[in-house]
Symmetry: C2
């Protein structure tokens, strides 16, 4: 019934042969793979300032040194990831690098951390996109959740349909956002130079003054929040095979360009926030406040900034829609996740991964009322754990392989790993009570689930191992025929059963004494030589007596195989099925729990006019 609707929404199914990869240039690659990283500018400064704000205006000044530290960290991680790109030109996700070099558990920890963070990326990015809209149009504040769910719905739909020519779709919003923010910063610098933004407020705090008022914990908290600017940096090293040849060189160059753009934008936004005394509050984002202050009101330039911000945030959510299903399919291929994640849907997308991601992201958005700042305590914990594992894996790899220049390379990675490990530790400490504890609990739980799944697949494979010789089949075959009544269907079924073997036993569950007697009377004429057993059913249950009977048959001899034949009317229309008793379905479902019936067969009888 749903099929025409599905066709309309998703289009015709695509043949497997249509699967081909679009190759990315450096220009399109930056657009496709950096929206997640660059869009962090839309919320990282907010998150940092929000942590500082409770300590008063003075504390805000601390944002400047923090932003510098974060930018330096970003550059460090970037150069560490360049090593990974050259070492894993086929795409070095944290799961693969950690599993290869540090072992399965490390790989699974990285994978779980990433899966959790992909879900959070969708929720945070879409919520931040909604915040950009609400900043420009405050009257929409009441519709945050519906807007966020609608965005997720559109992204999921696009991904289920399979996005073609993705490069071109992505290029426009990403570059438009870079241009918008660049313009904002340029105009800001120019107007500040021309003295048009008024003298710097007398109270404008310096870091030293701030230091007096606030404690180290607050600083660490703000640092951890600001580090969300670094989320998404790993996307390019995951996507290397999508680049034109030479893939690794192109990817590495794109990564460096992206990191420089990101660092510039984040520093610019953070510095102007301090300069203009922008404090984040629930109704307007920092970027929107800066836009109004620098562009001078809600004019077209400001609106362009808000529109491009929303667009790149939605695109950032979209990158999780590429990464989550792909990682789930890799885990499934390796036997750690349900095999269904490897199935490609009608349009060649990993539909099951897309569906699961959508469900969880929608749940998060509803739970957190589509407010990205509330999600920040959970966010990026997983990212920094996977960064750390990936880079530690690179160190281990270099030490093992000892290729020329390995000391220098592994040094780079070691610095990266140490930095991100420190950030991870700060994250967990600073935000533990606010919500990071959830992630700290979820990651080992996730690893345990992946290991349990792997164990089941291993045991199944062992149970299904081929024997040495083709099996000869069982010595004896018992065919049990369920006879609810005497009619044309049952008569045909008995004739069929007689063909299957010699030991055919008809069984009737006696619910109605009169009917059972009538059946016994007529059986010699219609039973084709089979015996008929009438089972007592004092409690009017159809299924119980049959199961008890089968247990008795089972005990008769070993090395036998039992086939049970169940008559089944096949009505012409769906509603007609409601008019017939469901005992056959009940029986089938109960038989699943018993191990002694090997073949459960429905003898089907179509009802025609």
């Amino acid at each position: 019934m749903l099929s025409p609707l599905k066709r309309l929404l998703l289009g015709r199914p695509l043949p497997t042969s249509a699967a081909r990869r679009e190759r990315l240039t450096r220009v399109t690659g930056l657009a496709v793979l950096s929206s997640d990283a660059l869009s962090s500018v839309a919320y990282a400064t907010d998150a940092m300032l929000e942590a500082l704000a409770p300590a008063g205006l003075l504390a805000i000044g601390f944002a400047r040194p923090l932003a510098l530290v974060i930018a330096a960290l970003l550059i460090t991680v970037t150069f560490s990831y360049r090593q990974t790109i050259h070492a894993y030109p086929q795409g070095g996700g944290a799961y693969i690098v950690a599993k290869d070099n540090l072992g399965t558990i490390a790989g699974l920890v990285a994978a779980t951390a990433l899966l959790i963070d992909y879900v959070l990326t969708v929720a945070v990015s879409v919520s931040a996109g909604v915040s950009a809209i609400v900043s420009a149009a405050p009257s929409l504040d009441g519709a945050r959740v519906p807007m966020a769910v609608a965005f997720i719905g559109v992204i999921a739909w696009g991904n289920l349909r399979g996005i073609r020519q993705s490069g071109r779709i992505f290029a426009a919003p990403t570059y438009a956002f870079i241009v918008s923010v660049g313009l904002l910063l340029a105009v800001g610098v120019w107007r500040a130079g021309a003295g048009q933004m008024g003298p710097q407020a007398a109270s404008a705090p310096s870091a030293d003054a701030a230091m007096v008022g606030i404690g180290a914990f607050l600083v660490l908290h703000a640092f951890a929040n600001g580090c969300t600017a670094m989320t998404g940096v790993e996307a390019i090293s995951n996507g290397i095979p999508a680049f034109e040849k030479p893939e690794a060189d192109n990817a590495a160059a794109t990564l460096v360009v992206m990191a420089l753009i990101l660092a510039t934008m984040f520093l610019g936004v953070s510095f102007f926030s301090v300069r203009l005394n922008v404090v984040p509050h629930g109704h307007e984002t920092v970027l929107s406040q800066l836009g109004r202050a620098i562009f001078g009101g809600r004019n077209p330039l400001y609106l362009a900034l808000q529109v491009t911000t929303t667009a790149i945030l939605v695109l950032a959510a979209n990158t999780s829609y590429a990464d989550f299903p792909r990682l789930a399919s890799i885990l499934a291929r390796d036997g750690f996740a349900p095999v269904q994640f490897t199935h490609r849907g009608d349009r060649l997308a990993f539909s099951n991964g897309i569906g699961l991601l959508t469900l969880m992201a929608v749940a998060l958005v509803i739970l957190f009322n589509a407010r990205e700042l509330r999600l920040i305590p959970l966010y990026a914990v997983g990212v920094f754990l996977s960064f750390t594992l990936s880079q530690a894996g690179m160190v281990a790899r270099a030490r093992r392989r000892r290729e020329p220049g390995w000391q220098w390379r592994s040094g780079m990675n070691a610095v990266g790993a140490a930095s991100t490990a420190t950030v991870f530790a700060i994250f967990v400490m600073a935000k533990f009570r606010e919500g990071a504890w959830v992630i700290v609990l979820l990651i080992p739980m996730g690893v345990w689930i992946l290991l349990t799944i792997a164990r089941h697949y291993r045991l199944t494979a062992r149970a299904l191992q081929l024997p040495e010789h083709p099996p000869a089949g069982p010595r004896h075959h018992v065919i049990v025929v369920i006879v609810p009544d005497l009619n044309r269907l049952v008569a045909s079924m008995v004739a069929y059963a007689r063909r299957l073997g010699d030991d055919v036993r008809a069984v009737h569950v006696g619910m109605d004494a009169g009917r059972a007697r009538a059946l016994q009377d007529k059986w010699p004429q219609w039973g084709q030589g089979t015996s008929l057993t009438v089972l007592e059913s004092p409690h009017r249950s159809f299924v119980e007596p049959v199961l008890t009977y089968l247990e008795r048959v089972e005990e008769e001899r070993s090395q036998q195989l039992i086939t049970i034949l169940i008559p089944e009317l096949r009505p012409r229309r769906w509603w007609q099925a409601i008019l017939h008793s469901r005992w056959s379905e009940q029986l089938r479902s109960e038989l699943k729990g018993r191990t002694h019936v090997t073949v459960v067969a429905s003898f089907e009888w179509p009802l025609r006019r």
Copy 2:
């Protein structure tokens, strides 16, 4: 998984032999079968006065003559029903009487009308019971719906569990209610006689004065509303076989006593309402207002009145729980309703009827916010239609049989039929726009559904008619074996298939070119002489290629029978089922739509440790 919970709630299953009927004396019979009728006193006067109130205080005076007319009508119907009791001592429900004497359609109209009214009786009675509670404790007004749903839940639970010794349970509340209302009226008469209730208000309206101010339509409306007092009168004639011998005589005597009590209570309550200028409003029922006025405040006598009122109203809802499932089972036995309504559950109750009634009553209570006065426009339309059909059926019966004294008897019934037909017509006219139109639409729809169901059962019976001789079975047997992979399960299944017949065809859906080739290479060793066909699946669908293949097999020859064998892993735990692809279930469900495969068999392979 649900089974232990079910046992706890419902108790152990009862054997069919435990089904026996408790015989009722006149005293217990009155208690068991009259709660529905007597409880009408709790809302009928309210409904009547509510229709008059908008025309002003003067109009209220009209309640007295209306109450007298309704009481007279009640006595007429009672004597008409005495005829039915003697004519149908095995229980003469309106469906049976109308079907026997006026034809199937008339019977089904009566049945539909009754089924609808049984649902409404539950909703109205439980809502009125909640109103009695809220009248005594106004702070509970916000919890109307939860209280009503809880009452319905308890009644449904009791009926699913099977109520034993029902006579004793029922006797207490019914007689307590009679005593409470009797006391109310007696104290009222005594205090009025002693002049303790003050002189009758100067403005106390007389019927003549009222007539000036109000139109005929309003009077008819009030009359129709007041006639809800007569609902439930038919219960005794439905329940004759439950009485002690001589059943009919005992039932007839009980009916007359009940009618007299009901008429007295209804007249008393209505007259005192006029005398004390009681106008119904949303927060307090008429009976509660009378109780406070006559007993002099919220004292124990008043509280007893409210408690017994609630109790008898809940019991009244309970009578629908006996009548609805029984009527549904009779309709199902006659082939007009789904056969599931004839099944007795673990505790010998008609569980499916109980479940359906509960669902619909809860929906009504939620929809109408548990306010019985809002439900009144829908209520009793069906009752009076079924009264009319039942008595018209008795007239037709007498005229056909012409037994001694038939003129006198049928005259009685004719007067009854004419009266109730008039009431029915007034109902539809006066309350059409307020909601009666829903019932006027639902009744023909219901009849159409019952006839459609009957047609399906007739066609099914014809399709299943036994042939003249036992069938010989098909000439040719094709066994199609689905081979998703080569493993121990598949090898055993092929060995089994070889036993079933000679024409065994293994089929593999090629989703992965490498795996398909490996399978083809190994098949000569493991296929036991069967052929292997690899089906192309460009769109990665498992089901479509199999269905297309089966169509080709179907076209090969006529007079053949196709068995399809599907391998099925049977995991040890429920969650393990999630880890395996569901193509076998998809295939089975799609096969239902195709008519050419006769036997669909699962070859099951239990996974052990």
